[in-house]
Amino acid sequence: MSNGVPTASFEQWIEAMKLPEEAVLPQDLEKIKRFTEVVTTESDPQVGQTPKEVIWTKNKSKLYHYAPHAKKTNKVPILFIYALINRSYILDLYPGNSLIEYLVNDGHDVYLLDWGTAGHEDRHMKIDDYIVDYIPRAAKKVLKDSGAKELTIYGYCMGGTMSTIFTSLYNDILPIKNLVLMTSPTDFEDAGLYTNWLNKDTFQLDKMVDTLGNIPFEMIDYGNRLLSPISNSLGTYVGLASRIENDNAVLTWKLMQKWLNDGVPFPGEAYRQWIRDFYQENKLVKGELAVRGQEVKLSNIKANLLNICATRDNIVQPEQIKALNKQVSSKVNTLHEVPTGHVSVCTGRYAQKEIYPFVSKWLKDHSK
């Protein structure tokens, strides 16, 4: 090119790069157009559609009762507890792809404690506060509302760890019949890459909490994505592109993205405690954890235990989960391993066909 005028050689090069019209098929163009739509402009699917009513609130938390007018054939109600960084709809993702919807349709009486979104004023909230001030009250409300004599506590991820601590403290005070956990860590001795990254020498835990107050969800999400950076970034879009013509696959992709990208801030002091007491000092499994001065002994757990472990989970290592079964005093002590990841344990085709029916049957068998 000279003086802005294309030279003959440049024109030839452009000509050579041009694809003949017949090389680009209309269906390929359609695929590209659809891909662009899905990634950029299309609206998110509507999540959390199972009918529910709020029966109790405290600060930002709400206690939901699902399908209150549906017929309940299982007399023991279930109280769901999930992680502090997620949204409540993750367990009721989409009709036909929802653990809560499945259980409700199978005759279970389902409740869920929604943590809400922590504000700056909640930065001093500790895990102790959630375990002592929120969960026991919610459990009492469930018992009163349902008129049941016993209840099942069902924890997912960090919510499962909190449920474990709660059960160990309240097993003799409240009638906890069953404890069901999904991908919930107990032993933090080897937490994979997190053990390296969150070590006391390099990780700026105190400075982080003191400066930021609540920890933004994006920061926690960044850490999770870093566990497998290529498949969590590029791989997601390659996967979408290869199944762009399948509407069901596109819907599943969008639901996953909504789950993964839509989190809430982690209350500051709870984060400090979670990282220090669990990841850095591994206090729970060693029997050194105290909640408001009360020692947490896993051997105090006598409720029937179902511990679900996802073998392809890269956020919580299977060994972190299995440790609990060795420490509890439960007469019914079930460890159930499934070939899924951290999210696909409660959503997706395998979960719908295998895990939901298994959990429902186990609950029915152990609620008599």
């Binding site: 694809l19 003949p20 017949e22 090389a23 680009v24 098929l25 390929d28 695929k31 590209i32 891909f35 405290k58 600060n59 504000g119 700056h120 004023e121 930065r123 009250r137 009163k144 890459l193 390296n196 990254w197 070590n199 020498d201 390099t202 990780f203 700026q204 400075k207 982080m208 400066t211 930021l212 870093l226 566990l227 497998s228 950076p229 290529i230 498949s231 590029l234 791989g235 390659v238 592109a241 290869s242 762009i244």
Partner: protein, 177 residues
């Protein structure tokens, strides 16, 4: 080239499938290095220093222009949360009292039933006794007029009281039932 079709997604997927495992392994080994954790810590430290500086500057600016800072607004929210906590405590206490009241009401109901049963039994006993007395009285031979004591000229005050008391006693027993 004219015989080929251009499938952008196909090429993309193929490239990804061929290179992903190689990249993953190399990145994975980097992520596992202690040096990576140190680097991460350094980045975190610098970011937090910058953020701390911004927070401090923002706060002093807001103070100068008489605008409440985030902390000040949050402290008001905390006060509201504290009030709500007190309300929840009161609600819990009311629940406890309501439960206690329910159990008391249950006990009172049980007590009433028991008293009613006792009342019925007593009525039966009284009835039987009356019948027995009447039967005895019927079996005893009528005394000769000589043996009958002389009636007083004025009626005994007890007789009136007795007649007045009888329906009252009956009414009480009916109320109890």
């Amino acid at each position: 080239m004219t015989n080929q079709t251009f499938d952008a997604f196909g090429i993309w997927k193929e490239m990804y499938d061929r290179t992903e495992s190689a990249f993953r392994d190399s990145i994975q080994s980097t992520l596992e290095q202690p040096a990576f954790a140190e680097g991460l810590g350094q980045v975190q430290k610098q970011y937090l220093q910058y953020q701390g500086l911004v927070n401090g500057m923002t706060e002093s600016y807001l103070k100068q222009v008489n605008v409440p800072s985030r902390d000040e607004i949050a402290s008001i929210a905390s006060l509201v949360i504290n009030v709500e906590s007190k309300l929840i405590d009161l609600e819990d206490q009311l629940d406890v009292q309501e439960d206690a009241h329910d159990s008391h009401a249950k006990e009172i109901k049980q007590l009433k039933t028991t008293v009613n049963r006792l009342d019925k039994k007593l009525d039966t006993v009284i009835e039987l006794l009356t019948k027995q007395v009447e039967a005895k009285a019927a079996a005893t031979p009528t005394p000769t007029p000589k043996a009958v004591p002389q009636k007083p000229l004025t009626p005994a005050p007890n007789a009136q009281v007795k007649t007045a008391a009888t329906p009252a006693a009956k009414n009480t027993s009916q109320t109890k039932k």
